[in-house]
Symmetry: C2
Subunit: 220 residues, 2 copies
């Protein structure tokens, strides 16, 4: 008679699972950015610009989080970048477990992994996924009060991209007030104003990522 | 010796608590609208315009949901409208229990209660609060793809306000595509384009609310 070995189910927390993901990311050699913003703030356009600016010299993977569908993934795949889609069904955020489920599909090595979280300023900030840092995108059409009203994200984000600067003449957005709110939550935040429409500010974004990837490679 | 009466804690679901809230709203005589939108879509400006347009002939209450702070409440109170603030702390939505907690502060009678939910397209759609209907606000700067990407809200919302039409010349927003997406999720949705900046479209909004309040009064 064979002995039956009963495995105990092991319940781990999101934090523990994020630490496991981190090990996988390290094996892939990747610098990982968790991109969080409101619906329509321009996450996919931002990723397109970063991919276009860096893909000649760097291997990039995009992990795309959406409640439903894969329109953003298809749009990004046209750039020739590797994309993995996660559909969260009803969840308003990506968590470490969802990332862990797709990581076995990821092979080879990557310099940069850009994770596009579900469009939402609240819940995605609460779940680590094993990232190097969180990057928030705030578009000028959303208003300069957002860092004051959604403090957790701006407290945690190491980089805040202020998008749609081409629309500044048409909206009431006080850049100084937004900056003050951001730096109040995180005095070390890097604030990068851009326009995905006319490309303004993207040189600084590309330079920022190049430096971060370089520093991460040296640290490993 | 006195007998100690031990009350059993009664656990009710959000749906059951929403039904209790509904009874309170009916006693107040109020038509209740649960307003859901992304951060920065213009919920508070929309409410200001509706209050300004209706407060001469109707008694209005605003219930303001924010993670933190009360800047929107203070802005609305300047109009002379009654406002109750709820701070959700970390929660990304209002639920029936939070509403139930503040209802004892509400006295007298109201024709219209406008509930400004937390800025988020996902979670607030999942929790009934006892409302007559959900109203979604989508701003043109967010993109015409939002009904396709956040289907639950657009499935449930009986009214969809498309805000910031003054910015249409400066953004790529296809009104027909947005409408198709909205009506695909809910063929009975009422779509109302407005600009809170120049007031365009608000006559139709005011007329809509007047009719709804009138129909609700007759039904009671």
């Amino acid at each position: 008679m064979r002995k039956v070995k009963v495995f105990k189910p092991i319940l781990v927390s999101n934090k523990e699972r994020a630490a496991e993901n981190r090990k996988v990311f390290d094996r892939l050699g990747a610098f990982v950015v968790n991109i969080i913003a409101s619906p329509g703030a321009g996450k996919t356009s931002f990723i397109s610009k970063v991919v276009t600016g860096l893909q000649k010299r760097h291997k990039i993977l995009v992990i795309e989080g959406d409640i439903r569908g894969q329109v953003d993934s298809e749009r990004l795949a046209l750039l020739g970048v590797d994309v993995v889609q996660i559909n969260t069904q009803t969840a308003c955020h990506l968590d470490a477990f969802m990332i862990a489920q797709v990581l076995p599909q990821v092979h080879g090595s990557y310099d940069l992994i850009l994770v596009e979280n579900v469009g939402n300023l609240v819940c995605p900030a609460e779940f680590e996924i094993g990232e190097d840092y969180k990057l928030a995108i705030l578009s000028v059409t959303e208003g300069d009060d957002k860092p004051y009203k959604y403090p957790l994200l701006f407290h945690l984000a190491q980089v805040v991209v202020i998008n749609k600067t081409d629309l500044l003449p048409y909206v009431d957005f006080n850049m100084a007030k937004a900056r003050t709110g951001i730096l109040q939550e995180n005095p070390h935040a890097v604030v990068l104003p851009v326009s995905s429409k006319n490309g303004e500010g993207y040189d600084a974004v590309i330079e920022h990522f190049s430096k971060e990837m370089h520093a991460a490679k040296k640290a490993h």
